[in-house]
């Protein structure tokens, strides 16, 4: 299939529909507007449900209901709206429901601004809602990857019965790049997807079958039963950590004197700086976590070559993923951080300058 020039927000929406998503509930917010507008335009054409909810809170609870009915469902928002969704996200995780949530991050805290930022790392990776749970968090760094992650997100959500977040930002959402889509799922494939959860989900009794009584629920007042449930979730998370860690290594070699760690949009800028330094004969490697949870701790350790004297973390925040890098490095080499906030995106020249100072 030919490549199409598209905004990230539109590409992820199109890819979600192609992945069999036929239910989408959301509330307008910048900079994810193209996503909700694309869904409004396209869902009716494929016989799907587009519903503009009265609030982010309502939207995520509609997702809870539709996911409880076993169907592929998605919502999207930007940072302040994702904060409002946290209650529902906790319930979705607690009830073990598959769902996909897209966050097109903007600057914060509070209303912040509408420029790209990476300040929701803690919220996405370290909790956000109440209680012990994890989201599987995917972080794209191109429009193509943003789109590809839609189908990955639905597959992971279905496989582990857990909410999956695609943690994008205003830059990836707004910019246009060529994107090639996977073939759309056929109606037959979508029907099969809709029936894969009938052992537990809200669904009618088939004629002649024994009547079922499925409960979509996260309430358990008996502490020993709730303890078992949370432990069960963490056994599931251990499997996710074993099987689903993804990261990209860029220019990593035994010659590296500095190892960078960066994710999402920030990683593209770091790559440009690394390419410039290469021309000067300065060897810098990059680890780009693609899954932010589970986190590629081992890949970072492995990438610390014999000559590496500095690990450098660059983010569009004040140092959030930095904590995870420090956990991985365990003091083997010094870890430094530099970032920009307020919706300001750093330039390759700025990164280059920071890295040159390490040589």
């Amino acid at each position: 299939m030919a490549k199409i020039l598209m905004k990230g927000n539109e590409a992820v929406a199109e890819a979600a529909i192609r992945s069999g998503c036929r239910l989408y509930f959301a509330y307008p917010i910048t900079p994810q507007s193209e996503l909700i507008e694309y869904m409004a335009k396209m869902m009716p054409k494929v016989g799907g449900t587009f519903l503009q909810a009265e609030s982010e809170v309502a939207a995520i609870n509609m997702v809870y209901g539709a996911a409880g009915a076993g169907k592929r469902v998605m919502t999207s928002s930007s940072s302040p709206g994702i904060s409002l969704k946290q209650e529902g996200i906790s319930y979705i995780a607690g009830a073990e429901l598959p769902a996909v949530i897209v966050n097109v991050q903007r600057g914060g805290p509070g209303l912040g601004d509408i420029q790209p930022a990476q300040a929701d790392y803690f919220q996405a990776v370290k909790g956000g809602g109440h209680g012990d749970y994890h989201l599987i968090v995917l972080a794209p760094n191109s429009v193509q990857e943003f789109a590809d992650m839609a189908s990955d997100a639905f597959d992971l959500a279905d496989k582990y019965r857990n909410p999956v977040m695609i943690l994008s930002d205003g830059m990836l959402g707004q910019m246009m790049e060529p994107v090639e889509f996977k073939p759309a799922k056929t109606q037959e494939e979508i029907n099969t997807l809709g029936e894969q959860h009938t052992a537990w989900c809200i669904c009618p009794n088939a004629d002649g079958d024994a009547k079922h009584h499925h409960e979509i629920n996260s309430l358990e007042l008996d502490p020993s039963v709730l303890e078992k449930h949370v432990n069960h979730m963490y056994e599931k998370y251990a499997v996710v950590e074993k099987n689903e860690v993804r990261c990209e290594t860029y220019n990593v070699s035994d010659d590296n004197e500095v190892l960078c760690v960066a994710w999402g949009s920030a990683s593209r800028i770091v790559k440009s700086a690394i390419n410039e330094l290469k021309k000067e004969g300065k060897s810098v490697g990059l680890i780009r976590p693609i899954t932010l949870w589970p986190y590629p701790y081992e890949a970072i350790v492995k990438a610390i070559g014999p000559k590496v004297r500095q690990v450098y973390v660059f983010e569009l925040n004040t140092g959030q993923m930095l904590d995870d890098v420090k956990i991985a490095v365990e003091g083997r080499v010094p870890v430094k951080f530099w970032g920009k906030v307020g919706g300001i995106v750093f330039t390759p020249a700025e990164i280059q300058e920071k890295l040159e100072a390490c040589f």
Binding site: Y64, C203, N205
Partner: protein
């Protein structure tokens, strides 16, 4: 032997967890009977609230979801949109529906979601220990209005049937009471109509039950019903506010 009374198939064998004299059991039974009488047990799904009826998902014998506080109409919207071949209802109390979930109920009603909403109004928060509800009566004492509800400070009780009847979309809105056998028989008719309309996918149906809370009111069950009759019914008048399936009903738009 002739069976003259039995548990409807639409209720599980799980014993209710309600206080003596509580009318939740009556409301559950009316809904369960209507679902059975409409032959919907295989296509029915319900959403339980947060509140005393939080365990409603254990009592109804078909698929049930437990919603976050106030969010039942949004959860039910998602369920019905995902499975339009099913029939969905929510069961909610006054704190759940008329306080924390006000936005969700108003907008589900305004969209005309093809749901039934059963709203139990007993003018108090039961499960958390008798706090003031949005439907607590003026001067009524609760644990968070220990000197009586001061309407100058906190406003008047919200009348949900009246509020929802200002919207165009709702198909059927009726307030009934559960205070005597005769009233329960009237309530049964209203519940039956709501479930029938639900079966026929006609639109949004809303039944409010005026009920009691003997435990948190601190009044014995029989006297509670008298208290509700004397104090609640003058403020929360029973009657049909909207019925698009019938003519000449109060509140039907012209």
């Amino acid at each position: 032997m002739e069976v003259i009374a039995r548990r409807p198939e639409t209720l599980t064998k799980t014993p209710f967890t309600y206080c003596p004299g509580c009318l939740h059991g009556v409301a559950h039974r009316l809904i369960a009977e209507a679902i059975e009488e409409n032959g919907l047990i295989n296509q029915m799904a319900g959403v339980a609230p947060v509140g005393c009826s939080v365990f409603a998902y254990k009592f109804f014998n078909f698929d049930m979801a437990e919603a976050a506080h106030g969010r039942a109409p949004a959860v039910a919207t998602g369920m019905k949109r995902a499975r339009p071949d099913m029939h969905v209802f929510t069961y909610q109390g006054d704190g759940d529906l008329a306080a924390i979930g006000t936005a969700e109920i108003v907008h589900a009603a305004n969209r005309g979601e093809k749901l039934s909403v059963f709203f139990v109004n007993n003018a108090i928060y039961g499960m958390t220990g008798g706090q003031m509800a949005p439907t607590t009566l003026p001067d009524m004492k609760t644990t968070t209005s220990p000197y009586g509800r001061n309407v100058e400070d906190i406003g008047y009780p919200i009348r949900m049937c009246e509020l929802l009847s200002t919207l165009v979309a709702p198909y059927y809105v009726e307030r009934v009471s559960l205070l005597s056998p005769a009233e329960i028989i009237k309530a049964k008719k209203a519940v039956g109509k709501a479930i029938q309309y639900n079966r026929e996918n006609r639109g949004f149906t809303f039944i409010e039950f005026v009920s009691t809370c003997p435990t948190n009111w601190g009044i014995d069950p029989v006297k509670s019903r008298d208290w509700a009759r004397d104090n609640m019914l003058p403020f929360f008048k029973v009657g049909c506010f909207r019925d698009k399936g019938e003519e000449n009903v109060q509140g039907v738009e012209k």
